[in-house]
Symmetry: C2
Subunit: 662 residues, 2 copies
Amino acid sequence: MASMTALVTDTRRTPGAAVQPVPIEAVRIGDGFWRGWLDRLYGVTLPTQHAQCEATGRLDNIRRVSGRVDAPFRGRYYDESDVYKWLEAASWALAGRDDRRLRALVDALVDDIAAAQQPDGYLHTYFALERADQRYSDLVNKHELYCAGHLIQAGIAHHRATGSTALLDVVVRLADHICAEFGPDARETADGHPEIELALVELARETGQRVYAEQARFFLDQRGRKPPRIGGYRYLQDHEPAAEQQEIAGHAVRAVYLACGLADAGLELEDGALWEGAERLWCSAYETRVYVTGGLGAHWAGESFGDAFDLPNRNSYAESCAAVAGVMWNWRLLAGTGEARYADWLETTLYNGMLAGLSLDGAHYFYPNPLSAAAGHARVEWFECACCPPNLARLLASLSGYLYGVSERALWVHQFVAGRVDADVPGAGRLSLEVDTDYPWSGEIRLTVRQAPESPAELRLRVPGWCDAATVEVVPADSVPAPSPFEGEGWGEGASGHAPAAADLHRSPATGDYAALRRVWAPGDRVILRLPMPPRRLVSDPRVTANVGRVALARGPLIYCVESHDRPGLEQDAFALPDDAAVTAGPADERLPGMTLLDMTAVPLSGTPERGALYQCVSVDNQANGAPTAPVAIRAIPYFAWANRGPSTMDVWLRRQEAPGA
Amino acid sequence: MASMTALVTDTRRTPGAAVQPVPIEAVRIGDGFWRGWLDRLYGVTLPTQHAQCEATGRLDNIRRVSGRVDAPFRGRYYDESDVYKWLEAASWALAGRDDRRLRALVDALVDDIAAAQQPDGYLHTYFALERADQRYSDLVNKHELYCAGHLIQAGIAHHRATGSTALLDVVVRLADHICAEFGPDARETADGHPEIELALVELARETGQRVYAEQARFFLDQRGRKPPRIGGYRYLQDHEPAAEQQEIAGHAVRAVYLACGLADAGLELEDGALWEGAERLWCSAYETRVYVTGGLGAHWAGESFGDAFDLPNRNSYAESCAAVAGVMWNWRLLAGTGEARYADWLETTLYNGMLAGLSLDGAHYFYPNPLSAAAGHARVEWFECACCPPNLARLLASLSGYLYGVSERALWVHQFVAGRVDADVPGAGRLSLEVDTDYPWSGEIRLTVRQAPESPAELRLRVPGWCDAATVEVVPADSVPAPSPFEGEGWGEGASGHAPAAADLHRSPATGDYAALRRVWAPGDRVILRLPMPPRRLVSDPRVTANVGRVALARGPLIYCVESHDRPGLEQDAFALPDDAAVTAGPADERLPGMTLLDMTAVPLSGTPERGALYQCVSVDNQANGAPTAPVAIRAIPYFAWANRGPSTMDVWLRRQEAPGA
């Protein structure tokens, strides 16, 4: 294992960053929810994705540029980006676990990529050889710098994870080439698909060369020019200057990568306009356009955001890549502000909108993630446009890097994952915690201090917005409570002298925050955070017309759904959940091992029309004839787990039976 | 008034047409529902539209081509199409009433257009003069042949309505030019916006020159080629050969004009593949994609059809032009088959989806016609892209031509409009009827024979699909019933000897049909068709997710809606209509003179969330606390009449309170 440098974003020297990252190597994911996903990542997901890249010619496309393979180009002009995302994933994975076979694949691939680089630093497999003279001829559509951005991200990850500069050197030469080719005195335009921007800022952090961040700002500034540089299309976020856009619009993945670039460049360059643009777009997205799962992008048409509150369920797009991008975006805003709302949405996206993209066997993928599905929506092994699988892989592989943060004399616990963290807390020293939890199935998180600095340090525990009855308890190793075990920032009172110290965390519901515990920690000190997670009923702002009269179920960070497997005899939407029906966290399904499911009784609805005529006249007389039917038992499962038990139909938003009244 | 030649489509010599048209001059619209709309058409709509065309430079754009005006081109490259549609409208209007001022405007405009024609027959105001060398350089986007199609339609209407060949000669020269420029030995492509196809078929009918219909078939055959001629876009109906398309798709107005062209060319050229294509697309549209109002085109994005059953209400597009196109399409399929389902949808579109496009004052227009509107959706006087206003005008001006039909020894009554028809029935002779009805407010239609041929003739009365309890009564002038007053085609029994003859018309609900009455008619004979119209509740196929748990109200051919004016104190969707709540046809509103409204009581819903957080947690306890609130009186008005009483919100589909039960 390399030195502790595998930071998903390295904002340690970035001015004004509120929270610093903790490297992947400093975090061990233990037995618990995520362990199985990571085991499958190493055992199934990464190897099968590599095999797909090989089988579809994606790897040979790289080898043919250097003459190592003599074959025609296969696939689409942006296919190499899938390889680069896989390489980024594999690199992060090597930071987490040394895997000999994976390392061999990575080494060979890095070698192939390096061999494909042109003498001037350019590197692209489609615009090479017979198409070398077409370089940069169709930036609006052909994703040339988008591919370069993913390669740069892979180069950074590879260096941080392995310590090798073999790929970093390649991407530095590529970046230098791009800086020479694009600028005020060269080509004044940008790529139709953002990605290069965030990659260049990270390269500036990695190399200490601010010029790359300036180049990112140049690309950001190309959007919304008059006359337009890239067509002026809303679809491409070129309808207004990037930093001035009031509403998130167009192709969802592009929009969110662009917003990540705004956040990165804004923070790195202390450019308030760029940063505020990222925050403004976040409000537009997360206050009016996000699915309850964290999914982004309402429409198949243009894979795009819709208007505010336009969130169809049956045809929701919510591309897996957009969920990954959403995690990246929230991470960046969290780093800049330390505000829990970003960690909240990161969590929601992680456990729902993102995770649904991957099957429980680790080898099948969703591209769109609808919130209501008719029969026939199933995960598949690969896509012709295969952006999603390696995107899911690189997020899973780097998951450890998104769990914790540090700031002056403080360790932040953003997410609750069983395992251990060995964090170097600025101004204090090494603080190591063991985390014991069955989260997200249980809301009890037990933290045990294993190593502590001698000076006081703050433990900042996120209290998620979904929880309105959190408590925290500090049990010192010597069982004698400290006089003032924690300082609440409005988070309730300090404990009053008897052990164990505990406090309710009162706050307005639905707004997450961090509970701060400051003390001189000692090995053996324990902190127990309790996040009660009774099943919750969620409703939407009434402007979300798709959800009027509907209710969704949640428990802890998980959004639930009802599949046809678990409502025998009931068609989709042919039943309602009464407001007074009990919803109980119940037993598991052997096909969904270890998961907490929800049991409830629903009311069949008499008047549900049959499939047939588009519009049908209902006779009121007929309605009165039917004798009331007994409620029917139904079961809800976590949204991420749907479509793993054979063909089904599925709904997140169930029809709600409200009591008439004021 | 000219001779009786103003046929909206002239299929009199078309092989295989099931019903022939009756000319506009043969129909008088008397006092009743439509009279006011037509009075406003002549008094307000046509004059103000002409003034808009003048004020926006649309007319000067024509005059500058001939040098009559020295001014730069103004507006968009397709703006002249609005002028041509206005001219078509004004021409049909002159067939209905001779209006001196209107005639003067028409004559001047025809003169301006003729002067703008180039020596080679070409005529377009944008691709003229400084852009003459760009002719046909961007057919995919620039609507050049679309404009020509509307001009050809205007030329045909002008000739049929006035007898003058002044404009017909122009469009024949234009058509000859197009035939020379496009074809297997010339340009092999078509226009991105269909319209030329249906215009050329009608020109073939008007001139007897089959070559124009062949040219239309050539254009139809250009779509769906490999490699594509016009980009291959689904948006432009170029993704598959036109006659082979299984589902209606893309831009709605384009798709329906294309389908009209398929029907016209298929019928005229006895080309079964084209005709079947038109029928197949009709099934796709009217069985899975039409709004209950007859509106077509679900989405703002691309002004386009969505997937089957994808019919959002809040953002429904349902462009006014698409409704007009829908009337034209249904009319063509009715002419070819005589099947009442087409006349049914024509009626639904006419009274709802189309008519809502025009304000009660005749001077304001909707472009999209949502079925649910938040505040702010209001008709305006004109649009920068002003396709809809003159399209509405040309349909209203030619309305008389869509009401009746004739076939061998039969007069068809497609629509029920007060007034008179003097029809020449093939094989029989002149059959004149006076029609006395308050339709659509009343379902009683009284027909009195004023002139009749000596031989037997059949009166074919449409029994709309919405009516399941129709009766017909024949009262002979001599009060002695004929032994067998009518022949029912499965429509019940002949009357049995006592006067008046009457019969129930039994049939399966929701499928319209024609009731056939055959006898030797005599002046003074009366026929009374009774179409009971109690308020009806409509529900949708459950695959229309937007309408799950919702009900719409209808009465006769009218779809109703609830505006905020008529549900004081209730927000949109914050109430439900119980299945057992009585809906009564009630008193009028003085701001909606003469209209029958619907009164009912609704139940306020306690659990409706407030505007605010996108997703909100509901507490079950809170739900049980509210004491039931008394039902609240609400009122529904005809959909076409909404947004005429000041700013409002509006819904067609109301939340439905179903009884639980089997």
